[in-house]
């Protein structure tokens, strides 16, 4: 994961108050971005396998399609292998914008977690 800059309470407040008009990422989208940011280019099925149950095979491409619409990820078809039949599979990688949004959300989530009361 990239280098995180420390956030003070003022920064967290501004992120929370601005979030309604800004790009939102769901838990599934966050899981996909996390995998793509840490592992690079992946196929849809590889994402499902490496997510340890967070992503489902029936919905991963729906989420990836939505993320493509939002500009979080981009895709390309795999180079055709000699003798392969059927449709080419699709490889996904995060865009610079997707990486930026993911890091901002991660920082915000960690800062919010720090604000919560801790039990002794």
């Amino acid at each position: 994961m990239g280098v995180d800059s420390p956030l003070d309470l003022q920064n967290v407040r501004s992120i929370i108050s601005d979030v309604s008009g800004h790009p939102r990422i769901s838990r599934t989208e966050r899981a996909i971005l996390e995998l793509l940011v840490s592992e690079g280019e992946l196929f849809g099925l590889q994402l499902v396998e490496r997510s340890r149950g967070v992503l489902k095979r029936g919905t991963v491409y729906v989420t990836l399609g939505r993320m493509q619409e939002k500009g979080f990820v981009e895709s390309r078809t795999e180079p055709p292998a000699p003798g392969a039949i059927g449709l080419p599979r699709r490889l996904y990688r995060p865009t610079a914008y997707g990486v930026g949004v993911f890091r901002a959300w991660s920082r915000a989530a960690r800062a919010i977690a720090r604000l919560q009361p801790h039990e002794a």
Binding site: G58, Y61, G86
Partner: protein
């Protein structure tokens, strides 16, 4: 034919190109890849199972997404307007020709009785349910034809949604609303009769069991499956003449209502496909686009230069 080719054809024909390429084709590609690299029959079976389940789940999402798109909503709006106009015109015709002047009504009913199946419409028309029963499925054809012509070539999910909604309306109208109108007519007629008698004679209560057309869907289904009725306790094997043909009558009403649903679906499909054919022909004539066969796949070619 490779594994998943049929799924690919379904997706290409029923979903928008964008969603098919972005969501469905990767699912099918995974299915084909897994199947190709599976060791043994069991692994191939599980590859198929997982791939098919993933496809249908994604396909449902694509259909819903296409149906909720702005173009689809406009299509539904056009279809609804045309549907209401046709149903309104039919209702007005029914009122004018069958419920206004006795002379005109007699002529229309006589004409209807000459034509084999239309005699049934004549019977419905006597009790104000011809439009409710036959008008709604009939209106599906012009409604979808008009909407397709007006909105152009759109994703099929909008047309399929319109057909589904029309079919639900037909089911409700022929199976619940029309029987309620028949019941209301029968009760009103009996009440008028009782008033005309002025209490001089005892009028028996109405036996709705003997009138399948007054019955809603659940009662008609129950009536069609019910055993023959023995209404006299002292004669356990005796069936009164008026009860003998009752289950068959219920079955015939059930069959007619099911046929109306089939008719509604067919009318909608014909209206949609006819609209598409006319729209394509006009687009071809205008030189907006042409289609060519590209290895078994119809490709739309835009403009005179053949730019894809």
């Amino acid at each position: 034919m490779a594994v998943g080719d049929a799924l690919h054809r379904i997706g290409r024909n029923l979903c928008s190109c964008d969603l098919c390429g972005r969501v469905l084709e990767p699912v099918i590609a995974d299915l084909q890849h897994e199947y190709e690299h599976a060791d043994g029959a069991a692994e191939r079976f599980f590859a198929l199972l997982g791939g098919y389940a993933a496809f249908w789940r994604s396909f449902g999402w694509c259909l819903a997404r296409d149906a909720a798109a702005r173009e689809s909503r406009r299509y539904l709006g056009s279809a609804s307007v045309a549907f209401l106009i046709v149903v309104g015109t039919l209702a007005l015709s029914e009122i004018l020709f069958l419920h206004t002047l006795q002379g005109v009504r007699n002529v229309v009913l006589r004409v209807l009785s000459w034509i084999p199946y239309l005699s049934y419409i004549g019977w419905s028309a006597r009790i104000n349910t011809a439009t409710l029963t036959f008008g709604l499925p009939l209106a599906m054809l012009p409604a979808l034809l008009y909407a397709t012509r007006r909105r152009g070539i759109i994703t099929p999910s909008a047309a399929l949604l319109a057909i589904a909604l029309g079919t639900i309306l037909t089911t409700a109208s022929s199976g619940w609303i029309a029987p309620a109108v028949v019941r209301w007519s029968v009760v009103a007629e009996r009440d008028r009769f009782v008033v005309a008698l002025g209490g001089r004679r005892q009028v028996p209560p109405i036996d709705f069991d003997g009138c399948p057309d007054c019955r809603a869907w659940p009662d008609v289904i129950r009536g069609a499956r019910a055993p023959l009725k023995h209404r006299y306790p002292g004669y356990p094997t005796y069936v009164a003449p008026e009860d003998r043909g009752l289950p068959a009558w219920y079955r015939s009403v059930l069959r007619e209502r099911l046929l109306l649903i089939v008719f509604a679906i067919l009318a909608g499909l014909i209206g949609w496909r006819l609209g598409l054919a006319l729209e394509r022909r006009q687009a071809d004539d205008d030189g907006v686009f042409r289609t060519r066969d590209d290895g078994g796949r119809r490709v739309v070619v835009v403009g005179e230069d053949g730019e894809d």
